[in-house]
């Protein structure tokens, strides 16, 4: 049987983090009532003219630099012509033969293999389309009419096109995660797939392993999460293998991923395939980017995940593994940075609490750190209470859960609930003596050589004090009293 290898390229669309739209001054705010952020330009009224948003260009340059691209000093906008109800002008202003950035790369570390360099073909600026809400049915199939909301129309997008360098679904996912990380760290985009601020289409083909020529590709759309991208590609590769094995041919087409059914489905397209008749946008002159602008953008390029991983290791002696965990999500890394500035003790303490208790909680509750009420100052305050022995680590583990939920200060929680650690030796000694008196049999066995029973007495002490006894103090006192 023929061994096949997959050839995958991704087209990623990302919203750029601007306040106003690409070609008009309407707000880009998400979640407003339908058609509240619209004007004559973004609704395609006759005679309305586009004026390019400088910040959108700035973010595109920044992204190009972060992706190791050449920034083209001169780029040209083009009209991509097609009819669809979410596109009021009948064309999308995009870039075609002269994009703002070209020929770059990123290095990825996929779960199933070694580090690998993935080429970036280009990154170009374009405007988003509006949103359709289909009526009378779940989706477009069977809908009786559709509502058009143009709030999203003309929101700035950057389309990042990869080379067909990806060879597995896992590589595609690793690449997508890498791009997302760059977009978030560099402040280019929120890159949030749930809000549609990051969208991804995949070109997928297979060929006999080692062959030089590409097979016929299909384009997969409608993948709404990172997991969906990985699964859809896996499913499509399998479908193509089975088709070829059964002697069928792959048809070049667009297919939609149906998550519930776990399959890709051919999309009926009324539009003649890809006959977009691009031509230079006559309403906009070429975009010129000066050497000074480029230098400025280079200077303003924020610290990316890779650089933070290095800094955490060098400055704080954090392990490579922990540094990677901390930087997976920018919000966590930012949280750590703030906490590290506030905390005088060993920064590894912060890492331990973040990577175990806090990330564990987030995973269980399926939350993002920003959705909790925990703030860096609160965590640092709690660490201070452990350091000055006001509370034990065990108590702190209970506290952190409450802090995540309520945002309450650790100090206040300790005072309210009487969780303060008992370190007073006389008080502890009294409690422990009572426990020994109440358990004469165990005491006798201990003194007869069954020293493992010390754990029993520790447990009883903790039970009696509701975990507030300082463990080192308990140990010390027990040793003294048990040796009798």
């Amino acid at each position: 049987m023929t061994e096949y290898e997959a050839v995958i390229g991704l087209e990623i669309h990302t919203h750029l983090k601007t306040k106003s739209k690409m070609f008009c001054a309407c707000s880009t705010e998400f979640g407003r009532p339908p058609n509240s952020n619209i004007c004559p330009v973004c609704t395609g009224q006759p005679g309305a003219l586009p004026v390019l948003n400088k910040e959108a260009v700035n973010l595109a340059i920044r992204c190009g630099l972060a992706l190791n691209c050449t920034i083209n000093k001169k780029s040209v906008f083009a009209r991509k012509n097609y009819f669809y109800p979410d596109l009021p002008k009948g064309y999308q202003i995009s870039q075609f033969d002269l994009p703002v950035a070209s020929r770059g790369f990123v290095d990825i570390a996929p779960a199933d293999g070694a580090e690998k360099r993935i080429g970036i073909t280009r990154a170009h600026l374009e405007e988003d389309a509006g949103k359709l809400v289909h009526q009378g049915a779940e989706g477009i199939e069977g809908a009786t009419s559709s509502y058009v909301d143009l709030n999203r129309s003309s929101v700035p997008l950057l389309e990042i096109v990869s080379e067909p360098d990806l060879r597995s679904a896992a590589e595609a996912k690793a690449y997508l995660e890498k791009i997302k990380s760059i977009l978030q760290y560099a402040g280019i985009s929120d890159a949030n797939m749930e809000e549609g601020k990051l969208r991804c289409d995949a070109n997928v083909s297979i060929r006999p392993a080692g062959a030089a020529e590409f097979g016929v590709k299909t384009e997969i759309k409608n993948m709404n999460s990172f997991r969906a991208v990985e699964r859809a590609i896996k499913i499509e590769i399998e479908r193509q293998k089975q088709a070829l094995a059964a002697g069928r041919q792959i048809i070049q087409e667009t297919r939609s991923y149906d998550e519930a059914a776990g399959q890709t489905v051919s999309m009926r397209s009324k539009e003649e395939s890809h006959d977009y008749r691009y031509f230079p946008e006559p309403d906009l002159l070429p975009l010129l980017i000066s050497e000074d602008w480029l230098k400025q953008a280079q200077k303003e390029l924020p610290e990316l995940a890779e650089q933070r991983i290095k800094r955490y290791q060098e400055e704080y002696g954090i392990s490579a593994y922990d540094a990677r965990v901390l930087t997976l999500d920018k919000a966590t890394a930012d949280f750590f940075d703030t906490a590290a500035r506030l905390y005088a003790g060993d920064k590894k303490n912060i890492v331990n609490w973040l990577t175990t208790d806090v990330l564990g909680y987030l995973k269980n509750e399926d939350l993002e750190l920003s959705q909790t009420k925990l703030r860096p100052a609160n965590l640092v305050e709690m660490l201070g209470l452990i350091d000055n022995k006001t509370i034990s680590g065990k108590i702190a583990k209970e506290l952190i859960g409450q802090m995540l939920k309520t945002g309450e200060s650790a100090k206040k929680l300790v005072e309210q609930s009487g969780l303060r650690q008992i370190t007073d030796e006389a008080e502890l000694q009294k409690i422990i003596q009572e426990i020994l008196n109440a358990n004469p049999r165990q005491l006798e066995q201990y003194r007869a050589g069954k020293t493992a029973l010390k754990g029993y007495f520790v447990g009883e002490t903790m039970k009696r004090t509701k975990g507030r006894a300082s463990p080192p103090a308990v140990n010390q006192i027990l040793d003294k009293l048990l040796s009798g």
Binding site: T18, K19, S20, C24, A25, C26, S27, P33, P34, N35, S36, N37, I38, C39, P40, T43, Q45, V51, L52, N53, K54, E55, A56, V57, K74, V76, F77, N81, F83, P85, L132, V133, H134, I140, E141, A143, T144, S145, S146, Y147, V148, D149, L150, R268, K270, E272, D275, R277, P280, L284, L285, P286, L287, L288
Partner: protein, 94 residues
């Protein structure tokens, strides 16, 4: 290469234009004339000349990223053939 009436019909379809047979003949002819003129232009030597996208060399103007919301959304909605709430309504797509 010349443009057939089928090509012209295809292009008209993409632009959502309905043409009578008479119009189709006329436009096919005109499109061929345009193409022939382009063939004339191709005879010019342009090897070392940068493509001209505009006769101005200033580059496009840029605006600062400031929000200034338009106030007459209702007026824009009035331009829609059908409106429900604050949404434009379009007929069945598929």
């Amino acid at each position: 290469m010349s443009i057939s009436s089928e090509d012209a019909r295809h292009v008209a379809g993409l632009a959502r234009l309905e043409l009578t047979d008479k119009e189709l003949r006329a436009y096919t002819e005109q499109l061929n004339q345009i193409l022939n003129y382009a063939r004339e232009l191709e005879k010019l030597h342009t090897d070392n000349i940068e493509p001209t996208y505009s006769s101005l060399n200033t580059g496009t103007l840029l605006r600062e990223d400031k929000v200034c919301n338009f106030t007459d959304q209702a007026g824009l909605l009035e331009n829609g053939p059908e409106v429900a709430g604050s949404s434009f309504v379009v007929p069945r797509i598929l």
